[in-house]
Structure formats: C-alpha cells, structure tokens
C-alpha cells in the first residue's frame, strides 16, 4: 500500500505532465516553469460543480415510484416527475416499477414477444412443470403468475429477492393444488379452480412475508400428460368419439326402421279394414239379392224353380266342354255333344225356337 505522500506526488507529476501538454499547444512551456495552480483549482471546481449538478436531481418514469434513502435510511418515496435530492451520494434513489404488471413463467420461457408471433424457448423445463396429481399420476403443468409491486418500501426492505420467493412459493402452491386433485380433473374440469386456489394461496404467502407483491392472476397454460403418455390419452379421446359414433349409428338405424315398420303396420290394418268392409258389403249384397229372389219365389215357387233351373242350364250347357246323357238300363253314356264349337250352336238354335 502506497503512502498518501507518494500518491500525492504521483498526482502532482501527472498534473504537471498534463499542464505541459496543454502548455505545448498554447505556447512553449519547459520544465521548471511554475505550476498553474489557478487552472487546476478552477478545473477541480468545475468538475465538482458538474458532479453536484448531475447528482442532485432524478427523474421518475410514469410506471415507477422512487424510494429515497439518506445515508442508508429511507426518508420517503416520490411519484413520477423530476425531483431534487442531496448530491454526492448522500441521498440515494431506488426506482421500482410499481405500475407495471410483471410476470413469471413456469415450465416455459418467452424468448421474444416483440414480433407478430411470440417465440418460446424450444426446450421444456420438466423440472419446473412436471408434478404429481392426487392419484399419483404425472402431469405437465405450465403456468404464468402475473403480479405487481404494490408497496416499493416493503418490496425492497422486507425480503431479499422477493421474486425468487414468489417463484418458490408459486411452485409449491401449484403442486399442492394439483396434488389435491385427480389427474383427470386437473386435465379437464378443475383448471379454473386450481388457478384461483393458486392465486389465493400465493397471495396469502406474500402477505405473510409482507413483501409488497400483489399477485394479480395465476393462469394455467398447457396442462398435459407427460409426452410419453399423450398418444394413449389421444387414443382415449378417439375411443370416446368411436363410442358416440356407434351409438349414433345404431340410433340412426332404429330411427329409420321403426317409423317404416309403423307405416307398414298401419297399412296392414287399413287393408284388413278394407277387407272387412268388403266382406260385410258382399254379404249384405248377396243376402239382399237372395232375400229379394226368395220373396218373389215364395209368391210362385214351382214356376220360379223351373225357370231358374232352366235358365241355369241354358247358361251352363253352351260353356261346358262335353255333355253326356245317361239312361238307366242302357249301356254307356251317349255323347250328346262330341264336336266342340258346332253342336252347342244347334242346341242354342233348338232352344231359341
């Protein structure tokens, strides 16, 4: 360690050297010339003034709040705008972004969100995102915690690295929330409940540490089964679809066939009703005819009988293929009409006469 004197000598030598150079420009100044103390003093004064000027004001951006410390002790906070303070590091200013919504990502990292599409880091962070569900299945949960620094004083002076703590607590809380659910619930129905619970419990912890952080939201991102298991999960979905499809197809077939059968049934019934009407009408008609004939027959039974018989014969004989006449006691029947087509005419003729 060099003594103060040596340091001073060294300094003077340097000042002289510098003065020499400057003198070289203004005019020749050889060694042995008197030191320009006035110049040095004014230079030092100017530097001092400059330092004073630059260190006695500060600007607070709209999204920030400033905490001012004098000799290490906090003397107050200030709002956005231009402010003055004591120079030379007597007053120290710490700026905290209190209005900005900040976020912590778990299980993934955003690389760049300035472009049209947000880019994410390619490699997953399985240590962060893999966790156990209540039925001891593994689930990959990615989430985001959005928060704001509500109280810059507490944020700076109640806890060291509150953000690291926020990360630790959020991981712990999320694992508790997921661990208290069945794996299939976490994947489907319980998302909202889990994020609400995680928000509330993380805030509770932050309040306990009194670190001035306000947890705004906890948002679940991708909640997936582990990579190796994903195809099996897809298979389940497909099978579910297949089940619906099979049920739908069967229902479709039933819907096609039952109305058709109902129609056919109605048709059969209608047909039978038609038959019934026909049959009854037929009976009525026939009996009415018979009744009329009977009534007439009764008034002259013998004549009517003979007439009916003869009329019938008249109608029957011409259309019959062959007529044989048999006589008791004679051999063999005598063919009356053996030439079809000609002899019936003779009979008709004889009848007509």
């Amino acid at each position: 360690m060099s003594s103060p004197n040596e340091v001073l000598d060294d300094l003077l030598a340097r000042v002289r050297g510098g003065g020499g150079n400057r003198g070289g420009r203004a005019g020749p100044a050889g060694p042995g010339q008197p030191i320009p103390w006035q110049w040095i003093a004014s230079g030092v004064l100017a530097l001092l003034l400059l330092w004073t000027a630059t260190s006695s004001y500060y600007t607070v951006q709209p999204e920030e709040r400033a905490v001012i410390k004098r000799f290490g002790a906090v003397i107050g906070t200030s709002d956005p705008g231009l402010h003055f303070k004591l120079p030379f590091g007597i007053d120290d200013v710490q700026l905290v972004k209190t209005e900005r919504v900040l976020k912590q990502e778990f299980g993934f990292r955003t690389l760049n969100s300035a472009g049209r599409r947000t880019e994410y880091a390619a490699d997953a962070l399985p240590d962060e995102s893999l966790m156990l569900s209540g039925d001891l299945n593994i689930i990959d949960v990615q989430w985001v915690v959005q928060y704001r620094i509500e109280d810059p004083m507490k944020y700076l002076y109640h806890q060291r690295d509150p953000e690291d703590t926020l990360r630790d607590i959020s991981e712990s809380v999320m694992r508790r929330a997921v661990g208290n659910r069945l794996g299939s619930e976490v994947l489907t129905t319980a998302r909202v409940e889990i994020s609400d619970l995680a928000q509330a419990e993380t805030q509770e912890a932050m309040d306990k540490y009194d670190n001035g952080i306000k947890v705004l939201t906890v948002e679940l991102q991708d909640v997936l089964p582990p990579k190796a298991v994903q195809p099996a999960f897809n298979e389940v979905n497909e099978a579910r679809q297949e089940r619906e499809r099979m049920i739908n197809e069967a229902t479709k077939q039933a819907n096609q066939e039952i109305p058709k059968a109902k129609g056919e049934a109605n048709r059969a019934i209608a047909e039978s009703e038609g038959y019934a009407t026909e049959r009854v009408n037929q009976a009525r008609g026939e009996t009415a005819r018979f009744a009329s004939i009977l009534a007439e027959y009764r008034s002259a039974p013998d004549v009517t009988r003979t007439r009916m018989y003869l009329e019938t014969m008249n109608k029957v004989i011409p259309s019959v293929g062959a007529v044989y006449v048999t006589q008791d006691g004679k051999t063999g029947p005598i063919p009356l009409l053996n030439l079809q087509g000609r002899l019936p005419a003779a009979v008709t003729n004889s009848e007509g006469r």
Partner: protein, 317 residues
C-alpha cells in the same frame, strides 16, 4: 509550497472521518466489533453511525427475510418409491450477536441449515407415504370423475391423508426449529417446493398411465358396441311388437268382418234353407267351364221337353 502539508492534513482528516462514520442501510443491521469482540447493542436503525476509528469495525447482517433453497435429495418414501424432494425455506437473522458468534456469516448459516433441514426432510419423507405428501387435508375424491374413469386403482389408496402436505411442512418446521441450536436464526417456514419420481420410477408410472388409458379406451369402445347392440335390440323388440300388433289387429278386424258376414248370411239364408241350397247349387253350375264334362240322366228335367219336342216335330232337324 505550504499547501502540500495542508493537503496532507485534509486528507488525513478525511481518512479519520471515513473510518469513524459508517452507514447502516435500511435493509441491514450492524454490530460494532473491537478486536473481534462485539461492542454495544445491535444497531438496527438505518442511517449514519459513529465508531472509534481504526480499532473498531462493523459487521453487517441482512435484516430482511432471507431465502434458503435446499438441494434436491433422493429419498425413499414409506412405500419404497424413490422420490426427488426439493425444499425451500425462509429465515431471518433474529439475533445478530448470537449469529455472529455461532456462524459468523450467511454462508456459515446456510451450511448449518442445509445439514439440519436435509436430515429432517429425509426423516419425515421416508416415514410417510407418497400420497400423504402429495395430498392435503382437504383432499376429497370427486366420485363422479372417478366413475367416469371407472378404474379400480389398486396401487393407490384414494383415502383422505392423515396429515397431508401442509401438516408435514409444519412438522418439518417444528423439527428443524427444535433441532437447530441457538444460531440467532428464526426459521419462518419450510415448504416442499417440488416432489417428483426419480427417472426409473417415472418411466414405470408413465407406462402404467399408458396401460390405464388404453384400458379406458377399450372400455369406451366396448361401451359403444354394447350401447349399439342394446339400441338395435330395443329396435328389434319394437319392430316385432309393432308388426305383431298390426297382424293381430288385422286378424281381429278380418275375423269380426267374417263373423258379421256369417251372421248376415245365416240370418237371411236361414229363412228358407231348402231354397238356398237350390239357388246356390244352380249358381255353382254357372261356374262350370269348357273343360267340364256334364253327365245328365236321360230322364232329367232338362231332357223332358227335348224328347217331347223330337216327338212332335219332324225328324228333318
């Protein structure tokens, strides 16, 4: 050249001032130490403070809540599964004097906490089932979801944990606090940050999950087939009932009509059955066609007049 001693004097004064004034930050607390021996009370108020120059020095300690992050340790649970446990804790330097005497600085404190917490975590985890560590006291199984899955999970007991995660964390805190000698440290909380299977167990669990899913898929398919068959069966039943019903109705209607017709015939024909027989017989003769051969007796009614005509008329015809 009088100015140089003046400058030296000013410099020395500055040095003296520098050595006797010190700043305690808002986040800090300090102890004045003289030849390694703490002097006076702990300085907790931030700001400018004085000490004897050169012979006294200041030891500063953080006043804030400090994080502690444990190593990831591989521990077997009571059920003999190996898990990786990562714990985190928060502590505060409560008694800087004690702290200074026992561990000197934060690095010393951390290594002491490491030792104690590590062994406590191992003790508690290895004496507990994994379910107990993962679940909390308010664990309850949604029966509906379980039914949807319809999987009997023999390997996992779905009952409510006796202690649960939060209580275990409390136990850890209590055990550490009890075991920790007077280090001037207050441990605020201990939390299980991460708990996961080790890789080999994880692969086993994954393959179990795969087979589980596959069996669920299989069940869905079988359910589909079953439901489909059921629907088709119901359809068949309905079809048969519709058709037979129709047949029955049709037969009834026909029967009724036949009956009615029979009654009508009976009523009318019954008035003179002999005439009906005559009438009907004659009618049925009318139905005889060309391929019928009619045999008539020569003495039949029909030929009676035929003969007499032949007798009356000439044989010329």
């Amino acid at each position: 050249m009088l100015r140089i001693p003046l400058l030296i004097a000013a410099f020395l004064l500055l040095l003296l001032l520098r050595s006797s004034v010190f700043v305690i930050d808002q986040a800090e607390q300090g102890i004045i130490v003289q030849f390694g021996e703490p002097i006076g009370a702990v300085i907790t108020t931030p700001g400018l403070h004085w000490k004897t120059p050169f012979i006294q020095e200041v030891r500063r300690f953080d006043k804030r809540l400090l994080p502690w992050d444990g190593d990831v340790s591989q521990v077997p649970t009571l059920g003999r599964e190996f898990v990786l446990v990562d714990t985190t804790a928060r502590f505060r330097i409560k008694d800087p004097l004690q702290f200074l005497r026992s561990v000197r600085d934060e690095a010393g404190a951390r290594s002491r906490i490491d030792d104690i917490l590590d062994s406590v975590v191992r003790d508690i985890i290895s004496g507990t089932n994994l379910e107990e560590i993962v679940r909390s006291r308010d664990w309850k199984v949604d029966a509906k979801v379980l039914e949807e899955e319809a999987l009997p999970r023999d390997d996992v007991d779905l009952g409510r944990p006796k202690k649960g995660r939060a209580l275990l964390e409390k136990e850890m805190l209590a055990a550490v606090t009890k075991q920790m000698p007077a280090l001037g440290i207050e441990l605020v909380d201990v939390r299980i940050k991460r708990i996961n299977y080790i890789d080999s167990v994880r692969r086993q669990v994954e393959s179990r999950m795969i087979s589980e899913r596959q069996s669920i898929a299989e069940r869905f398919r079988a359910e589909g087939q079953g439901r489909s068959q059921e629907i088709l069966g119901q359809m068949e039943r309905e079809l048969r009932s519709i058709r037979s019903e129709a047949e029955r109705k049709a037969a009834e209607i026909r029967g009724k009509a036949d009956g009615q017709a029979t009654r009508i015939y009976g009523d009318t024909y019954g008035a003179d059955p002999e005439f009906y027989a005559f009438f009907r017989t004659l009618e049925s003769y009318g139905a005889m066609g060309a391929n019928t051969t009619l045999m008539l007796g020569a003495d039949s009614e029909y030929f009676r007049y035929l003969e007499s005509t032949r007798r009356r008329g000439s044989a010329g015809h």
